[in-house]
Symmetry: C2
Subunit: 441 residues, 2 copies
Amino acid sequence: MSSRSHSNDDLAASLPSPWPKSPVLQAAYRARSAAADLAPLPRSVKDDALLAIADALVVRTREIVEANAADVARAREAGTAESIVDRLTLTPERVRAIASDVRDVAGLPDPVGEVVRGSTLPNGLDLRQIRVPLGVVGIIYEARPNVTVDAASLCLKSGNAVLLRGSSSALHSNSALVTVVRDAVGGAGLPADAVQLVPGESRESVRELMRARGMVDVLIPRGGASLIKTVVEESIVPVIETGTGNCHVYVDAQADLDIAVAVLLNSKAQRPSVCNAAETLLVHRDIAADFLPRALDALAAAGVTVHADDRVRELAGACGTKATVVPATAEDWETEYLSNDIAAAVVDSLDAAVQHIRLWSSGHTEAIVTTSQPAARRFTQLVDSAAVAVNASTRFTDGGQFGFGAEIGISTQKLHARGPMGLPELTSTKYVFTGDGHVRG
Amino acid sequence: MSSRSHSNDDLAASLPSPWPKSPVLQAAYRARSAAADLAPLPRSVKDDALLAIADALVVRTREIVEANAADVARAREAGTAESIVDRLTLTPERVRAIASDVRDVAGLPDPVGEVVRGSTLPNGLDLRQIRVPLGVVGIIYEARPNVTVDAASLCLKSGNAVLLRGSSSALHSNSALVTVVRDAVGGAGLPADAVQLVPGESRESVRELMRARGMVDVLIPRGGASLIKTVVEESIVPVIETGTGNCHVYVDAQADLDIAVAVLLNSKAQRPSVCNAAETLLVHRDIAADFLPRALDALAAAGVTVHADDRVRELAGACGTKATVVPATAEDWETEYLSNDIAAAVVDSLDAAVQHIRLWSSGHTEAIVTTSQPAARRFTQLVDSAAVAVNASTRFTDGGQFGFGAEIGISTQKLHARGPMGLPELTSTKYVFTGDGHVRG
């Protein structure tokens, strides 16, 4: 600390000297400086920059798609799975869709400046709690180039600078996208360093980000469980844990069977690879004999394999379903399949379902299907997850579906943000109190 | 994880097997179980328990004061500074005051159940974002027995279980207080394990708390800078950083000199040992020759030593003040004195003051004294601290002063909570969405 010199000449004075040697920390310091410039900007200036980004993405589609083709070719050479290659691929249509998302963000209200609380204190002081940007947001993510632009637009709109640490397998795509975004940001008169790709493809660059407390205000890891675990365990920068979704559908003793089948099928099979898809079915014993034959046939028709406890297997055998039913082990209860698989168990009561969920859930989304108001009330009270669905599919836990516009991730931790994170979740607050010479007695 | 057995019999089923050997983790598991019981409790039940605690503290004052006397005697034997012995000491009056604080917490609104956001989505789903308890709150603190009861009452009121890791030098006091609190909590029909002293006096017990991710939802370190640094750097449980206050008073070019002197003196000298006391004075060059002679005399009268830059020292020499003025080094700009000392510098502009603050402040509270509306606006916009005071003492940044009732600490980080933390800051939220068979298309 004492290596910092004291000078008040200009903004550079609020950066430490000597200038750090690490390119990652240099990027963080430039982001910090850009964040100071962004914080007081009014909405119209930020929206103009966002619209300039959207225009530039469309105008420069060709260079983006060409850069992306290099990543795609390299991924294919490396024998990458087609589903991952598909997520990596940018077409002109997809670039237009990304640009359209940026325009949507421009249309969202600006969270910065919102007065969250305000009052006049008994002594006459005016107290206001006001939303302010977090400052510098670091995002660590995998090979999805659309995240690059989504994160940049959400951070800009909320007055934050962003450090983007994408996957090396999307490096050409991300470089092209960030070049286009930075040119547009600079052209709109804002600091281009508000959006930066973190230099270096090695794990070391992630490690440096995780140590940059005081320079980076929050790290949001998006991606696989091992990446998230590493960041949560090693970062001294505050982290928001995202994403793992071991979601449950519980069918209560009293339930509309049509709704139960529809909610189960949509939760599991509408898009199995995403975090808000269901991974476990729990059925109350009183309705199991009525519900399971229909449910198993519906799952069979959707190509879903059922990893079942003894009671589900017994009923499956008795009803002669065509479903593929295999024995469940303890591991099935905690697995996020992200595939056409579901674990299934019969439970003795609603409370037993809640206990199962408390024990095994990742805290993302749990659904109850019931016609009983007391059961719905008890389930929503006792389940301790980011979202609880009543007679609705788990698939609705999503920033877009919730009406937040875009989302920067889905928090499965309790601090700061829980569930889908939109623009307000990218802010902090500041108290301002105003008097006329007030002192404490 | 796979060592956990699958069973739905009772609440114990939601705890891992085998039962942990570590007493700290056992306490955490018991807290988790208690937290599940507390979460759905209505306000009246929690308030009854709080009032029972307050009554018990008064009734059992004698055993509390006797236990405290043992700690005080040991502290005196160890040659502990009288100011610390004073903070450790409990008298019957102080116990009554602590009980009165508990009654105040009972009178505060219950944050749990508050609907933070609510809407009906375009597809007809009813979406509600509802405040819920965090779960298990861990507090690590120094030898202030009043914190034991404050933390317990705030956590109970907000539906959280609390793990109290106090200082070994207050062990007898904390044990007596927690015994009284637990007896009252149990007597009111709530789980006594909602309030537990963390077993073990060694650093190892702190280390175990910091590793208990998934069992402890947040750790709040209160105390010295080194304790806070250790917890921030080593914990994988989410942390809220509290407390360090390198607060600034900036006297602008246009300022009412009477107000400037009053705010400076109150900010610095009304209670120098606390985090919201001012540690640095910045004076605009245009008002320095008028303001500093009066300010230095006032500081001299209050017994404050001034650590001054060259320009302040020059003016001090010219005006012949009786103040003790010593040369400032770079270290003075970053020091939280917590004593009758203040650093002082002349700055060339409001922006230069902001740069100084951005460089050296701990992000707690900064005050501007000005009669210029544009200056007040620019200062409050550009200063990036938890609180900004306009023509008011820095000493007002306090949960009690802000009308939050008690406070569990003052956050100097940006995530989750910033500034004084009251009951809402001890909560998370949960989304509940209700449909009638809604599925995603």
